[in-house]
Amino acid sequence: MFKKLIKKSRAKSPWIMHFDCGSCNGCDIETLACLTPLYDVERFGIINVGNPKHADVLLVTGTVNHRNKAVLKNIYDQMPDPKAVIAIGACGLSGGVFRDCYNVVGGVDKVIPVDVYVPGCPAKPEAIIDGVVQALAKFEQKQAG
């Protein structure tokens, strides 16, 4: 019973944390916009938390550069299981327009495992919402498997 409740709750209360890994702000503000009245992801029980220890879903925007890759790893490690990672925007997916730059690692999945990729430059709030929904579906899969 309790297990079922927890499972149900998990899908209804994904707390997100956003980390900017060197983005141009485009994807960040679209992520932030998801919280605001027009998109209001709190409808899905999503809360934007500021601290990896409270987060279920990590939203990463930006190219991942050499200085912040360690930070990204640290943050990921401080999240309690079960957790999911969503990479947002061309930068987070591959480095985007900056992928040839010397300081760009290029893609979140080079540092931590990524569950959902949300393309766009920037990804639209709707796309980000879709991404979170997919991440939740993945939670369920992980539990089943």
Partner: protein, 144 residues
Amino acid sequence: MLTFTPNILKNLAAKPATRKYPFVKREQFSGVRGELYNDIDNCIFCGMCSRKCPTQCITVDKTAGTWVCDPFTCVFCGICADSCPAKCLHFHAEHRPPSVERETISMQGEPPKPKVKKKAKAAPAKEEAGKKAKAEPEEAPKED
């Protein structure tokens, strides 16, 4: 103090401004650069898009007749579509849906005429691999 009260009371009385996405999808504005796709039937494999693309995420193989784009690198700037001489690149207004693994858009088309028709290999096309289309020889790209 409390100067914001009228605003919140007004909000309380009015309907929330929230758009009910994804349950209700509002109509997109026309001209929005959502998902990029290629009318592969019309593509002449000139490679202009791949040269102009600021992220260099398009690969065009003229001989094999493939057009491959990395949607995870594309920044949806629309330069390719603007510069495409065949005007076969378009954007859906809907954004490209997120995915759970890496993807590429690879499309198999009819390579331009001058070359001898090759057996097109069945590329692992995610997007529907285009039906073989006839490309006009006159529209073959001019090289600098």
